[in-house]
């Protein structure tokens, strides 16, 4: 282990004034990421924060690290290039539901498929905020916005489903108002070797206020959120007496102490299970029938693109006859004209 760097959150704040709307969930996420970075013991110079376009994508300007505010939808691809150019970097992609899942959908799934070691923080407020209130690919069917005055006639993406479908190795979920949870998850995401996707349910005060309120309401939090922890039973509820069991391939909410159910009957969370079946069920859980799953849902080991790329180059180099460009130019069929 390298020497402790003793960085603090202050080391990650930039001199730029933060210009998100007062009360925007983004402030809390910024705070959580800065805390996570300070505690990761990674050199400040080795952080790179890459974003696309959208409210959340102003993020790099509020960080003191290397940062790149790119173009709409392309942050995943730019970040991939950064990581390949220098695999030693700790690369973060800051994106939103429109940026990652609409215009940048292709790059999003391919980043996950390749399993490049990048931490993708997906701010999901289910609305286009920067363009002032149009529905997004995560808006629910029937949602009324400026571009859907009669309600949308399409179903939303569930980000975690996409991650699993693209063979993701890491998926976690947090809410903007739980900075402690977000920080823990961001640290886990950074430590994971491969593509880590963290969906943060984020509130837009102006165009979609309260969209996640049923989940995030502090009074209902224990009933409506299931805090997942690896190796622990999936228990929730005000009195920690509710849990999940698997029955006929479906999740079911049961009450401990009723119908002979004991703590031992409750499903135990395993983030490392390669088969994504239970992870998928957890991702899909929605109110009112189920609590919403929070925490690290999936974290399975797998070969990362950047490591494999470096290893392949090293392997080929070790036995190569061509060591420099002069060798290359004179290789194969050549002839001399005297």
């Amino acid at each position: 282990m390298a020497e402790e760097l003793a960085l603090t959150i202050k080391d990650f704040k930039s001199e730029n004034e933060v210009r998100w709307c007062p009360g925007c969930g983004d402030h809390a996420i910024l705070n959580a990421i800065q805390k996570a970075m300070a505690s990761l013991n990674i050199a400040h110079k080795d952080y790179a924060v890459i974003s696309g376009i959208g409210c959340s994508s102003r993020f790099p300007y509020y960080m003191s690290t290397y940062g790149f505010h790119t173009i709409h939808g392309r942050a995943a691809a730019v970040a991939s290039g950064v990581k390949c150019a220098n695999p030693n970097l700790c690369v973060w992609e800051i994106t939103g539901d429109g940026d990652a899942l609409a215009i940048g959908g292709n790059h999003f799934i391919h980043l996950i498929r390749r399993n490049i070691d990048i931490n993708v923080i997906l701010f999901n407020n289910k609305i286009y905020g920067l363009t002032k209130g149009q529905y997004s690919p995560t808006s629910d069917r029937g949602f009324v916005t400026k571009t859907s005055p009669y309600g949308t006639v399409e179903d939303p993406f569930v980000p975690g489903q996409l991650v699993l479908g693209a063979r993701g190795t890491f998926f976690a979920r947090s809410v903007d108002n739980n900075i402690k949870l977000s920080q823990e998850i961001f640290e886990e995401a950074a430590k994971h070797k491969g593509a880590s996707v963290v969906e943060v349910l984020q509130n837009c005060m102006i165009y979609n206020n309260g969209i996640h309120a049923a989940i995030t309401d502090p009074k209902m939090k224990k009933e409506h959120q299931l805090m997942l922890k690896h190796g622990e039973p999936m228990i929730f509820g005000e009195n920690e007496d509710k849990g999940l069991v698997l029955e006929c391939g479906r999740l079911k909410v049961v009450k401990i102490g009723e119908d002979g159910v004991t703590r031992d009957d409750i499903l135990v969370h395993d983030v490392t299970e390669p088969n994504g079946f239970v992870h998928q069920l957890l991702i899909n859980m929605a109110l009112p029938d189920f609590p919403v799953a929070m925490g690290v849902i999936r974290a399975v080991p797998g070969p990362s693109y950047d490591e494999a790329m470096v290893a392949q180059i090293e392997e080929v180099k070790s036995t190569a006859k061509i060591k420099c460009v002069d060798d290359l130019l004179t290789s194969g069929n050549t002839w001399v004209v005297e």
Binding site: K45, H69, A85, K321, L329, V337
Partner: protein
């Protein structure tokens, strides 16, 4: 053996090999060309193939051709018209008749001249030569299929494998006619199929059978002698434009002491650049086959931000898709090379055919005021030089550079005198040195280029982006600042002119007609101007490799001629650009958009006409 052979001595000969796309004509042509170069002929090649991988057998649409010209003097084009056509079926005769020199020689597989194949090639009679008015041509019918089958009768091969060796018979026969050394081809075959000894034996047998057939039938096959060319001494190799481009980028990375990153998506005819660099893990190249064209350039921008020599390669439709991201590299002022191997457009257009119609897209095809440096290579081998220089300009001036090549250059090949890396110019990337004073958009007074600091460099942490920015890289909506930044980005590109060599004129330095051209047409232009000068015309050629910025002396050069004609494989894009940049002159135009290179003949005809007016 005393049979009489007709021996013809020629200064240059063009041969066209043609057959079904599955007949192996590209390999046959390549082997023949390499063998010609090895014995000291200068050569120039041009593959001409359909975009369908396997179009219906026997149809004109499925014909794949490969033309090579070789000679005793410098050869600058694959030849307008072929002296000799090798045709594996009637469709090949039909597809290639327009590219034959009047009275040329046609060697064809007489076994393929059947009713069924006439129908497939849509002949209405059973005499294709008469129908195509090729009566005056010298025709050599050879039962290639039968003889190949005969040669392989003891090999126990299936019918498909036997038919696949037909091209070797043709190669052997033509090699005899032109006295090409067989050892090169033999060792190639031994190498290529070294894991399949039976295939090696079969191919060698058929190759030798073809050669022997020529020798035994001397009375009917003429023999040609083309002496070696007098060329500069040195070590040579054959190289095509795409490979030369890839290797030029490698050379630049080595000189700049940077790692090379290529983000790209396969697209005809640029794919070989990606393939060639993917093969170079031994030199540490990082190639990233992206999910689409946009990711191709976006990963490249990321790699440029993070300190690599970053390159993306594409062709016209891909350039269109990359436009927005290219604008980001203009705004962020990152060093980046974009290689555009042009093809026929618009839209999907003619993927396998050559054209120069992406010029205005390269110059202007982005939102906002978005100037980039634009270079164009002019021969297959000088793609190496211009790829190297594109990278040098990008790295030393912190600016995106577009290198234009085209399908003709990319696929065409010629002998190339191999340079030594020690003789190549230095490349000094503008890597920031002083963290105390570093400002992301502080500029060099002379060149206006900023300094490059990338993640991992301690103390230089900063933010950049696609929004208009100030000196520190922070967002600025200040009207005065935007005006200033737009002007600076334009001026920075203009000042690249000090890295651009002066425009040189080939031929007459002043006179009646200045022929102006750019990019991949150079070989044909030079041949045409040479031919015109041999007829005592006062004509010169100004061929452009640097499009933006233009060389500093353009006005002076143009002033020395009475007339100017701009020749290009589009509808007049460079002419329009020159009218804007150098408005004091009248520009005649000669344009062609047939997916084919110019012919020297049509160029000379146009020049004659203009000189007579």
């Amino acid at each position: 053996m005393s049979k009489e052979t007709k021996v013809i001595e020629l200064e240059e000969v063009a041969i066209r090999f043609s057959g079904d796309s599955g007949d192996g004509m590209q390999l046959t042509g390549t082997l023949f060309s390499d063998a010609s170069a090895l014995i000291g002929n200068d050569i120039s090649t041009f593959p001409d193939y359909p975009s369908e991988i396997r179009a219906p057998q026997g149809t004109v649409g499925g014909v794949s051709g490969f033309q090579v010209q070789f000679g005793t003097r410098r050869v600058t084009t694959p030849g307008d018209y072929a002296h000799v056509l090798v045709a594996m079926n009637p469709a090949a005769v039909k597809a290639n008749a327009p590219f034959m020199r009047p009275g040329g020689t046609i060697i064809y597989d007489q076994d393929s001249f059947t009713e069924k194949n006439f129908q497939k090639a849509k002949f209405s009679t059973d005499n294709p030569f008469e129908e195509l008015q090729l009566d005056d041509y010298f025709k050599i019918p050879v039962p290639i299929t039968t003889l190949t089958r005969e040669a392989l009768k003891d090999f126990g091969l299936d019918n498909k494998s036997i038919l696949r060796s037909k091209n070797m018979f043709a190669l052997g026969l033509v090699s005899w006619m032109f006295d090409r050394p067989m050892d090169y081809m033999e060792s190639f075959i031994q190498n290529k199929f070294k894991k399949k000894p039976a295939v090696v034996e079969a191919n060698l047998k058929v190759l030798r059978s073809g050669w022997n057939y020529g020798m035994n039938m001397q009375h009917m096959t003429p023999r040609y002698i083309v002496h070696p060319a007098a060329i500069e001494h040195g070590t040579y190799r054959n190289i095509n434009g795409n490979l030369a481009t890839a290797w030029g980028l490698l050379a630049a990375a080595e000189k700049a002491n940077l790692e090379l990153f290529l983000g790209s998506y396969p697209i005809t005819p640029a794919t070989e650049v990606l393939q060639a660099l993917s093969a170079r893990k031994d030199l540490g190249v990082k190639t990233f086959q992206a999910e689409d064209e946009i990711a191709g350039i976006s990963t490249t921008i990321g790699a440029a931000f993070a300190g690599d020599l970053a390159v993306t390669s594409t062709s016209g439709p891909g350039l269109a898709l990359k436009s927005e991201a290219l604008g980001l590299s203009v705004m962020a002022e990152l060093p980046l090379v974009l290689v555009n191997v042009q093809r026929g457009g618009p839209s999907t257009g003619l993927p396998t055919k050559t054209e120069q119609s992406d010029l205005l897209q390269a110059l202007y095809g982005r939102n906002g005021e978005s100037p980039v440096v634009v270079l164009a290579a002019s021969t297959p081998s000088d793609c190496f030089h211009y790829a190297f220089h594109a990278a040098k300009i990008a790295l030393e001036r912190m600016v995106p550079v577009i290198l234009m090549t085209d399908g003709f250059l990319g696929n065409g090949s010629e002998p190339w005198r191999i340079p030594k890396m020690a003789d190549m110019p230095t490349i000094t990337p503008r890597i920031a040195k002083n963290a105390e004073t570093y400002k992301p958009y502080a500029r060099d007074e002379e060149t206006l280029s900023r300094e490059w600091a990338y993640p991992g460099m301690d103390g230089f942490q900063h933010r950049i982006g696609g929004l208009e920015k100030d000196l520190m890289g922070n967002v600025s909506h200040d009207p005065e600042n935007h005006q200033k930044m737009v002007e600076i980005r334009a001026e920075k590109v203009k000042r690249v002119v000090d890295m651009v060599p002066e425009l040189e004129v080939c031929g007459e330095q002043e006179g009646d007609l200045l022929v102006v051209s750019w990019g991949g047409t150079f070989g044909h232009m030079e041949s045409a101007v040479r031919e015109m000068r041999s007829l005592d015309h006062k004509i010169g050629l100004a061929h452009f490799n640097y499009i933006n910025p233009l060389p500093a002396n353009v006005h002076e050069v143009f002033s020395r001629f009475k007339k100017i004609i701009v020749c290009e494989l589009n509808m007049g894009q460079f002419a329009a650009y020159l009218r804007d940049k150098e408005p004091d002159f009248k520009y005649e135009q000669f344009n062609k958009v047939k997916g084919l290179p110019f012919t020297v003949h049509e160029l000379c005809e146009k020049f004659e006409q203009l000189l007579e007016e």
